[in-house]
Subunit: 356 residues, 2 copies
C-alpha cells in the first residue's frame, strides 16, 4: 500500500528507530483515551452476534444513532468508519467539489479517485483558520459542493457555520461538513449543524463514532442527509455488510452512556486548558487555539521532521508531522490530547527540546 501520509503509523516508526511498538506513546492520532464502562460484556455479546451476518439494512443500528442525535433513521447512512461514507459520497455528488484547506487528505483523495474536479480553497491561517465567506461567494459558481471539516483537522478550532449554510442554501449548492471531532467541543449544540439536516437537503454531515468513544479499531461512522437523491445514489453503490457485528452491537450501549459522554467533555475542557497554557509558555512555537482533542503548533526555529525524530528518540513519543497538509509547510506539527500523565510527559519533553 502506498503511504497515504496519515498519523498512527506506530509500527513502521518503531521499527525504523529500533523501538518496541508497545512502548510508543502515539500523539499522532486523535483518539479519546477513555472508554465506556462494561465494554467487555458488550463485546462478548457482539461475538455471539458475529456468528451470523449483520442485518443488511442495519435497522437497529440506525435506530440507535437516531435516538442519539435526533435525526430520522432513514436519513442515517451507517459506514465502516466515516471513511466508507466519504468515498460513497464522492460517487454520489455533482462533478465540482471545493475543499477548504488545510484539512484531512482523504477528502481530496476520494474526490479524485471518483473523477471529481477538485477546487482547493484556503482557510485564513492568519485568523485562526477562519472561513473567508467573501472568498466562498466569489467562487460560488465554480463548485457544486463545498467540503468543510468542523472542528477542522489539523487546527481544531470550531466555527459557526450558519452563515456559510445560508450562502450554500441560497445558491442551491451542497454543504458537506465532517463533524468527526464535534463531540469533543464544549458547546456542541451551538456549533453542530445536525439540527438542520431534516430542514435542508443542501446539507450532508459526516460523523465518526469511534474517535470520541475511544475505539477506532471497531470502525463505525455515519452520514446524515435528508437529500433523497444522494441517499439513493449512495445505496446504489453501497457494498453489503460493511459494518461488523461488534460495532452493530455496541450501538445499543455507547450512545446511552450519558455519564461517559459528559465526563469526556469535562475531561477535554480541563485538559485543553492545561495543554494550551503549558504549550503557550514555550516561546519558540505558535500554538493555535483548539476546541477539540488535538493541537496544531507552528515551530519558529525547527523543522517538523526534526522534532518528530527527537521526541521519538528521547521520549518514545510519536507526533504528527503536519507539513503534508495543503497550505501548511515543514514548520507544522499536530499533537493529540491524551491522558493527563501522557500529556505531562509530552510537555516536559517539548520544553526540554524547545526551551521554556
Amino acid at each position: 500500500m502506498k503511504d497515504l501520509g496519515h498519523g498512527a503509523n506506530v509500527e513502521p516508526m518503531a521499527r525504523m528507530y529500533n523501538k518496541n511498538p508497545k512502548d510508543i506513546i502515539d500523539f499522532s492520532s486523535n483518539i479519546n483515551p477513555n472508554v465506556i464502562q462494561g465494554l467487555e460484556e458488550y463485546i462478548l455479546e457482539g461475538l455471539q452476534e458475529s456468528r451470523s451476518y449483520p442485518d443488511i439494512k442495519y435497522t437497529n443500528l440506525r435506530n440507535n444513532i437516531s435516538q442519539y442525535i435526533d435525526v430520522r433513521p432513514e436519513f442515517i447512512i451507517p459506514g465502516n468508519g466515516a471513511t466508507e461514507i466519504i468515498y460513497l459520497l464522492m460517487k454520489s455528488i455533482d462533478k465540482r467539489i471545493a475543499i477548504l484547506n488545510p484539512t484531512f487528505s482523504e477528502y481530496e483523495r476520494s474526490a479524485r479517485l471518483n473523477n471529481l474536479d477538485v477546487i482547493n480553497l484556503n482557510l485564513d491561517e492568519s485568523n485562526e483558520f477562519e472561513i473567508d465567506l467573501n472568498n466562498i461567494k466569489e467562487n460560488i459558481n465554480k463548485f457544486d459542493s463545498l467540503f468543510v471539516c468542523n472542528p477542522n483537522n489539523p487546527n481544531g478550532k470550531v466555527k459557526n457555520l450558519e452563515k456559510l449554510l445560508d450562502i450554500i442554501v441560497d445558491n442551491n449548492k451542497l454543504l458537506i461538513v465532517d463533524e468527526t471531532f464535534m463531540e469533543f467541543v464544549e458547546e456542541e449544540e451551538k456549533y453542530s449543524l445536525v439540527k438542520y439536516v431534516e430542514k435542508y437537503p443542501n446539507l450532508f454531515i459526516l460523523k465518526a463514532v469511534t474517535k470520541f468513544f475511544g475505539l477506532p479499531g471497531i470502525r463505525l461512522g455515519y452520514g446524515l442527509t435528508s437529500n433523497n437523491d444522494i441517499i439513493e445514489k449512495i445505496y446504489n453503490y453501497k457494498e453489503p455488510w460493511t459494518i461488523n457485528s461488534f460495532a452493530d452491537t455496541l450501538s445499543n450501549y455507547i450512545f446511552k452512556d450519558q455519564k461517559y459522554i459528559e465526563d469526556s467533555k469535562e475531561y477535554y475542557i480541563d485538559e485543553r486548558n492545561f495543554m494550551l497554557s503549558e504549550l503557550k509558555s514555550i516561546n519558540s512555537i505558535h500554538v493555535y487555539d483548539t476546541d477539540t482533542n488535538f493541537i496544531l503548533i507552528r515551530l519558529n526555529d525547527k523543522r517538523a521532521k526534526e522534532i518528530k525524530v527527537e521526541l521519538l528518540r528521547e521520549g518514545n513519543i510519536l507526533i504528527r508531522d503536519a507539513s503534508n497538509f495543503i497550505g501548511l509547510d515543514d514548520r507544522y506539527i499536530r499533537i493529540a490530547i491524551k491522558s493527563h500523565k501522557e500529556n505531562e510527559l509530552l510537555i516536559r519533553h517539548m520544553k526540554k527540546l524547545l526551551g521554556d
Copy 2:
C-alpha cells in the same frame, strides 16, 4: 437500502411472519456452526487493540495469512470481507468480464457499478453445473476476465479448474476464482488454485475467512494475485483502515488451529453424506451433489416461494429461495448444512411437506 436479494435476512422475515428473530433457524446463509476454542480471550485482546487504529498496511495480518496458505505476503490483499476485494477488483481489471452463471449476484453488481461490460455465460445445469470448456473457447475473444466461483454458489460441486486455467493462460486472459467455500471441500489441495498464484499473473483468487471459521460478522476476506499491475491498481483505490481490530487480532490464532480446521472438514464430510442421503430419499425433489456446506435442490411439484413460507411458518426454518440466480427459476431452493440437530429438524419438516 434496496433489496440485493441475498439470504440471511432473518429480521425482516421474522417480522413479516410474526416470529421472534431469535427463534428462526437460518438455513439461508452458509456459515460453519462451529467456532475455534478460546475465542472470547482473543476477542478481548482485539478489544484492547481496537483502542488504536489498526496498522494501515496490515503487515501482521498479511503475514498470518501468508503462513496459512503459503503465498508471499505482498501477494495478499486483505479486505473487510471478500466483498471489499470483489469491488476493488472490478475497478482494477480490463473492460470486459465474463461470469459463469448461476452464481453469487455481487459479481455482476460490482462489475456493472464499475462500468464493466458483463457477458453472462452458463454452467451446464444438466451435468452438475459443469464448466463447458468449448463454450469458453468459443467466447474467448469476447472477454478480458472470466469470473468463476469454486465450489460454486448455489450448487456447491467443486470443479477441477486446471484445464480452464491453461486456456486462460494460453490466451493471456485473467481467471478470477472465488474460493470462498473451498475450505469445506474434502480434497481442498487438489482443487484449490492457490498453488498457482505465484506462478501465473493471470490468476486472481478470492477467499472469505469468516464463513469457514463461523464468524461472518467479524468481516475478513482477502484476494491473492502475483499480478503487480492489478495489485497496484487495487491499492490505488483501496480505502484506509477497512479491516477492524478484531479480525486483525484473530488472525494470530484462527489459522493455526489445526484441530478446528480438521474437525470442521471431518464434520462436513459426515454431515454432507447424511443430508444428501436423507434428501435424496425424497422423491419429489432433485438434489444436486455438493462438496461444501450448502445444497441446491430443484422442486418438482412446488414453487420455492411456497416451501420457503411453509418451512418458516411450521418449522421456524428460513431457507434461501434460489429463483433469483441467473439461469435458475422458481423451482430452486438452497439450504445450508448446519448442526446435526438442526439438519435433522430440517429433514423432518421437508419430508413432512414434500413426502418421502
